[in-house]
Amino acid sequence: MSGFHWDWAFAWSIVPQLAQGVVVTVIATVAGSALAFMLGLVWTFLRIAQIRLVTPAVWFFVQFIRGTPLLIQLYFLFYVLPTWGLTVSALATGIIGLGLFFSAYAAEIYRAGIEHLPAGQWEAALTLGLPVRRVWTGIILPQAIRAVLPMLGNIVVSMFKQTALLSTITVLELLARGMAIGQMTYRFVEPLTLVGAFYFVVSYVSARALRSLETRDEVRA
């Protein structure tokens, strides 16, 4: 019965509080992406290396992470990390959770990038007699990663949207701030709509930018 009405003055008044949440959301996205990209590369190399027991274990771990909900993984880390002696802030737990979850997807993307390199690149490297390490760091990885940059960009956009889940493990990111304002003032319309609009604008613009990057790559290829 309360009825819907939008109060601009109230909406403006909560912007500073929401902006504090935006900062946390951005930190989580940037740090989570960095972790995911590094771990993803580690998983890829462990798969390539074909080490007995390790490679199958990594494969299973990656499947397991991809096969289960991020929300529960976050809960699990939140409650279990302290019992393992790893007492870190909720934000750090969230970053670890996001990083682990998306590293499983990043690994697949790196793999695709490496597999899609023309065989001639390997042959040329072999012919030139470059050391193996140099082949990877100088020839294969730079090309493979450049080819999959738009897909890695998609991971950042997905992660940005998924940071909203961190609100469930007490991280005061954007959604948590919006909900807190709603619960304190009994006004949910403005905070939740502003939160949604912020997510929408940022991810819409970045998705558009990534799409143009993809098409530009196609033209160049």
Partner: protein
């Protein structure tokens, strides 16, 4: 201080969440599939009046966080006078969100129908509606079965969110049990395993369904998965020359 109860005492209550989780998964999927088909057809329509709203819905649901959409539907929609039960709210939001992503799969399926089929239908003078429902869609739908199977498993994981709008699924019950025991680690560890097992079972069922549909062409569509999780074709051995594996490690 210490509760005499252990996790195992709550096991029946916890596993009671399995039918709830699966029920929400299938209900949301039942919303998502028609939504995806309608959105994809709308997006390809020659009429701006159909194309524009479809594009708007797709971008709206893909553009923001599913959890934010869920909370918005749960807390803000009642202020418009639209009070949905938690179940309807969860199923509709998940269905619309996932349907928006799946519309991409449907679009790829529609595009995969050879152009000659459409041209032949035009040459025969079939009306547009007939072309779509009798010629294109019946050929496109079997192609979409494998990617829809992947989406079913995505949906299963997705449903954990509805626990946050008070639906008593696996996640909700796990939180409750954790609070009661005062120790949440073990129950959430168990919850992850249960979700994984459910995903394996659903994955197996989907593969049986694929075999039943039995169209080799369907394989081509798998790679055109929705981009929100940057999915790629299933694992295969890496094609890296053997000499590049030696050395450094």
């Amino acid at each position: 201080m210490t509760s005499p109860k252990s996790l195992w005492d709550f096991l029946p209550f916890f596993l009671g969440g399995v039918p709830v989780t699966l029920g929400v998964t299938f209900l949301a999927m039942a919303v998502a599939v028609p939504v995806a088909v309608i959105l994809a057809i709308g997006r390809k329509s020659p009429h701006a009046l159909a194309r524009w709203p479809a594009g708007f819905v797709i971008e709206l649901f893909r553009g923001s966080s599913a959890l934010v959409q869920l909370f918005w539907a749960f807390y803000v929609l009642p202020l418009f006078g639209l009070t949905l039960s938690p179940l309807v709210c969860g199923v509709v939001v998940l269905g619309l969100n996932e349907g928006s992503y799946m519309s991409e799969v449907v679009r790829a399926g529609l595009d995969a129908v050879p152009k000659g089929q459409r041209e032949a239908a035009v040459a025969l003078g079939l009306p547009p509606r007939y072309r779509l429902f009798r010629i294109v869609l019946p050929q496109a739908l079997p192609l979409m079965v494998p990617p829809f199977g992947n989406e079913l498993i995505t949906m299963l994981k997705f449903t954990a969110l509805v626990s946050l709008v008070t639906i008593q699924d696996l996640s909700f019950r796990a939180s409750l049990i954790g609070d009661t025991l005062g120790e949440s680690g073990p129950i959430f560890g168990l919850t992850i395993v249960v979700y994984f097992v459910l995903a394996l079972i659903l994955g197996g069922l989907v593969r049986l369904l694929e075999r039943a549909v039995g169209r080799q062409a369907g394989r081509n569509v798998v790679s055109v998965a929705a981009p929100h999780e940057a999915r790629l074709p299933a694992a295969s051995p890496l094609s890296v020359p053997a000499w590049a594996l030696g050395g450094g490690g």
